[in-house]
């Protein structure tokens, strides 16, 4: 199915409030992009369920869940693919920066469990009722979310120097 059909099908199933808009290449300022649908973050859970279990959508492979820091708000990008129907779609959920919460999709795709934990670990985007909401790559007592643009490198961690000031050029240049 083409991205427009998918968009219309979702719009008529979930209505205006949840499915915001569809963007095709060279629209809304994107020269190059895969067609994506902007979605209201908290609606992600049942949207994911519908996307997977609907007969003619059948998005059974969740390729990738990535977080993006857009300076004013945080965005979670889902790339989905259907093995049987051989079509793909990209869904974006944009959440406010101060309290970013997105509905979890861990119950529909098994891989989403870890991918969402990694997004939480790197960006600090909370996933509502995620089964195992822990950090996956960093230790639990690591402060800050590293992949945010305004992240300051820690000076010490558990007594070990993380960013020492050596005479050969500065470590951890914060740019």
């Amino acid at each position: 199915m083409t991205p427009e059909e998918i968009f219309d099908k979702l719009k008529e199933k979930f209505g205006e409030g949840k499915i915001l808009r569809l963007t095709l290449p060279s629209q809304n300022g994107f020269d190059v992009c895969d067609p994506f649908i902007d979605v209201e973050p908290l609606a992600m859970t049942e949207l994911a369920d519908f996307l997977k279990h609907d007969k003619d959508l059948a998005f059974d492979q969740c390729c990738c869940i990535s977080g993006v820091d857009l300076k004013d708000d945080l965005q979670v990008v889902y790339h989905l693919f259907s093995m049987s129907k051989l079509h793909k779609i990209c869904i974006k959920a944009t959440a406010k920066r101060d309290n970013p919460i997105v509905g979890t999709t861990a119950h529909t795709w098994g891989v989403a469990n870890w991918l969402e934990r990694e997004t939480w670990d790197m960006f600090g985007i909370k996933f509502k009722d995620h089964p195992d909401h822990r950090r996956i790559l960093l230790e639990e007592d690591w402060e800050g979310f590293p992949l945010r643009k305004d992240y300051k490198f820690p000076r010490f961690w558990r007594g070990m120097e993380v960013t020492p000031e050596e005479e050969e050029g500065t470590y951890g240049t914060q740019d």
């Binding site: 190059v32 795709w109 643009k149």
Partner: protein
Amino acid sequence: MEHKIETDFMIINMGPQHPSTHGVLRLELKTDGEIVMACRPFLGYLHRCFEKHCESLDYLKIIPFTDRMDYLASMNNNWAFCIAIEKLMGIKVSEKCEYLRVIVGELNRIASHIIAFGTFGLDIGAFTPFLLAFIQREKIFDLLEEASGARMLYNYIWVGGVARDVDGDWLKKTKKFCQEFKPALDEVDELLSLNKIFVERTANVGVVTKEMAISYGFTGPNLRGSGVNWDLRKNEPYSLYTKFDFNIPVGAGEQGQVGDCWDRYIIRIRECRESIKIIEQALEGISLEGDIYETVPKNFNKMPKGEVYARSETPRGEMGIYVVSEGGKAPVPYRVKVRSPAFCSLSILEEICKGVMISDVIAILGSVDIVLGEVDR
């Protein structure tokens, strides 16, 4: 009065330093004697902040860092990253570079599969097949070092082309390698694959059904092990893969059920044979004229604004690179996210390792074939 003995679970840390966790992965096993009740993997012991580097290094400088992600198949990492950037910038790579990329990528796929089924044999206890296979890997290292200058981390495939040219006798050496490799692979296959003890240890162990495989993001040999006929080189062909005819080995449950450890193992061996076929056809097709820097962009000043998600087939599965670029004169990408196949296929460990024995956990971990550099990025 039948007195029930209260047994308590033992929490074992198959810690970051363990001979068969393929690097620094910690499995926290809750065991009742030999039977594992629950297994929680802990990652992050090799998290080297690759994605933070991508925010402050421009495109040409990221390529050596992609080598260090999946350090067993670094050529395929370069290739995956370059495909994404070429799709973003709309560059069409010259014919000669595509041929070189296919030859070098398939050589690296064989080298990575050698480590995969070699260490799998090591986990089950057979030392010799690993060392016999490693000899072939050294021969591949000689070839790739002559082409790119380094043994393992090549920085060879650049955006839009290839770093160094090769000459005629390198192609002859590759052809000679292909002839020598086949008998050596058959020998390792004969030594290990049908060995009764090996089959006993791996058949019907860690069975992954088709639906569970797709839902847990299995790709590559692991997905084909569960019987799904899906290979990006065939189903979503990129580069010159439409020109070569090779078939895709799919798990058929010869020794046990479909999707068990033995299937995932035997697919890797058969894929090596297919890669040899591809290399031989590519060696015929390549023509040595043409400059390799033809389509390499001089500078990254006129970048389009937008984002791209490109997938390509690495030995461990489908590596997806999601690049967001602000466009204009920014030589530095805004955000690069790498969908690592090993990270996704490792997430199934929690699901499968219930009610199996400790030695099976090792067998399953070995058959899923993870590399911690790529899992933790």
